[in-house]
Symmetry: C2
């Protein structure tokens, strides 16, 4: 069993410290540089954007992690994505890492770099260089929120969480923080996520991590675009003294479930904070031919502007959901499908059923609800999480300027 820690975050697991400062990269004057450090070099699992256009820090980190799967720190900035910045951009990302390594007295290739913000501008390296020693000086163990805030861009809310699991070998902790609001979509879109744990994890845990990503950060969608900078790190420093390999099978299962909770809740926080979002909707596809098809269909519906506008309008528009499912390219037979808003059934065998209209409207007026499409052609299911499409989404994205 796990328990959620109050004000938990990346610093909750043993041996992690962090800091956040205003380096003046953002015109707004909000915090825009952050540092996360592990006392002992941590095993690092990573997943990066699949976008063909990759930002300099993504290219740098991939190169570093190709050889060593360990990292001692991550230096992060918001306000500038260091994307489409060519060779100078790559040199700048590398320099951020080297300066941090030097300030922390670490060996080469032990610091990773993440950037998020506007594309196409060279990094303001003077500000970055001035910021690094300040971040190092400020490192402390109660900095989960400080770190979480400094990585935000158009986000409105801090996304930070930690859970504790008691095992027969001792207590272990999983923490996390992430950023992302617009451009959120399967495949790590404009999202930075940092998961920390004091468990020692074996290298083949990567398969578990990847599978968790599919049903958490890759199961959410705000607007269907993927970005140049998306990165998710899982840092495991083993400082609880508990090794995953030494856990019992049931304890391993509990640890994996707790990790999934942290990743999924952080992912859902991103959707809740989607640009202009007023609602979080879980789209659940049941009795599909395969988990892959179910997830693909759920994500496809989650990007339908028509469905998302109907959610904003609090209209239980099953026609748009069914039509979107039908154009997802996944297998389905209209005449076999059932559809539910919350627990109110609106379609049976592809035909509308008489339902209690007031009860139905009560469902779609909630801030969070679930839509379940039962395909009745197989045994697999999957969920995706999306938000509605509001006037404010357009406003934020029409007024944000390059």
């Amino acid at each position: 069993m796990y328990s959620v820690l109050e004000k938990g975050g990346v610093c909750s697991p043993k041996g992690f410290t962090a800091s956040g400062i205003c380096a003046g990269i953002k015109a707004s004057g909000n915090a825009d540089m952050a540092l996360l450090k592990s006392e002992k070099a941590a095993r690092c699992f990573s997943v990066f954007t699949t976008n063909k256009v990759k930002a300099a820090p993504v290219l740098y980190d991939k190169a570093v992690l190709e050889h060593a799967h360990r990292a001692s720190a991550v230096i992060v900035n918001s306000g500038n994505a260091n994307a489409c910045t060519g060779e100078q951009g790559y040199a700048d990302a590398e320099r951020m890492a080297i300066l941090t390594e030097s300030a922390l007295n670490l060996t080469p290739k032990s610091v990773l770099v993440c950037s998020t913000g506007v594309i196409g501008h060279l990094m303001p390296m003077e500000k970055i260089e001035a910021g690094i020693p300040k971040l190092v000086e400020k490192l402390h163990a109660e900095a989960s929120e400080e770190f979480g805030r400094a990585i935000l861009t158009t986000d409105l809310a801090l996304k930070s969480l930690a859970v504790e699991i008691t095992t027969s070998k001792g207590t272990v902790t999983i923490g996390g923080a992430c950023k992302g609001s617009g451009m959120i979509h399967p495949n790590m879109a404009t999202m930075l996520a940092f998961i920390t744990t004091d468990v020692e994890l074996p290298i083949d845990f990567f398969a578990e991590f990847r599978a968790n990503i599919a049903d958490s950060f890759n199961a959410i969608t705000v607007d269907g675009d993927t970005s140049t900078n998306d990165t998710c790190f899982l840092l495991a420093n083993g400082m609880s003294g508990v090794s995953y390999d030494d856990m019992s099978l049931s304890e391993q299962g509990e640890f994996r479930a707790a990790l999934m909770i942290v990743m999924k809740e952080l992912a859902k926080d991103i959707v809740r904070d989607g640009e202009g979002a007023t609602k979080l909707i879980e789209l659940c596809i049941e009795k599909a031919e395969s988990h892959e098809e179910a997830l693909k269909m759920a994500r496809f519906i989650g990007t339908s502007n028509l469905a998302k506008c109907a959610m904003f309008g609090e209209d239980p528009n099953w026609g748009r959901i069914l039509s979107s499912a039908g154009s997802s390219g996944c297998n389905m037979v209209a005449e076999h499908t059932d559809l539910f808003f919350g627990d109110v059934q609106v379609l049976a065998g592809g035909r509308p059923v008489d339902c209690d209209r007031e009860k139905l409207l009560a469902v779609v007026r909630q801030r969070e609800y679930k839509v379940t499409l039962v395909l009745n052609i197989g045994f697999a299911s999957a969920s995706a999480f999306t938000c509605d499409l509001s006037y404010d989404y357009v406003k934020i994205n029409a007024e944000y300027t390059t």
Copy 2:
């Protein structure tokens, strides 16, 4: 050479008559039933929605056209899509055809049916039955606009066009009308299109028709959804006395080019009339590996909400276009790409170039402009047409109710 006919439309080619009436299907009181008739049975080429959820009239027409590739008339209604209406819906679609055949003294299976409007409601058959004799009575040869207006739903503008081509065998004409504003996307999304010609066309002309569809109606995108009812018919009645097979090769080329013009202009009219649209943007991908990849990438960018909001905000946001191209799944190398807004170059080799900001802003402030992304990895190119995403798109789609 072709010339555009004033007030041209589906009735411009010889032997076609049409009509449109208010049958009371729409609450608005606007025209909602239409009839198109050819004096002689016409060869009929058809392309239907690829959505797995197909409306009853689509299923009916597919069944009819599987055996005979000819049709004498098309009965159309707006206001009700006759989709997700089960067996009763199919019986209603068939009944619409049979009643029209009977009122026109035609043989069975010679009338096709199209419906567009809300999903999931049974057809108001009393209104339909009362409307059919009125439509038959009103049939006349100057009815292009009347027909074009009666097929509209949330459309604001009539979409009707005809061109005339002079050949050594005589003058031939191509006319057309279409409807569609929201839910417009590649693969025939919520769109009805009727193309007429008095040329006699061979049955293998279907390949030409299909290829034209790819670069016209399937190259446009308003919101990325495909619908249950999309249909495009090309009716060729041969009443000009000119046969395609008798034309010279260059005349055939002129005919095909003119048909492409009619289809492409009607398709662009749909984008111009996209829900809440204030701009028409041509997204042109050049020097791609293949036409298919170029078209796929152009269409993918055309559905990016981030790119479309930036267009609405008149922001030449090349970052969103490049990032969207990168997440299209098509081959590209960021460092090789050049990007132009109109004729102003903003990226060279994946890096921003200094350009005249005023000239650039003048481009994106136009109602219609072209964005060209040059990939420099091959020799193929393709264009897609999209509109911007405005407050009004959200308003229309949040307030439209089931």
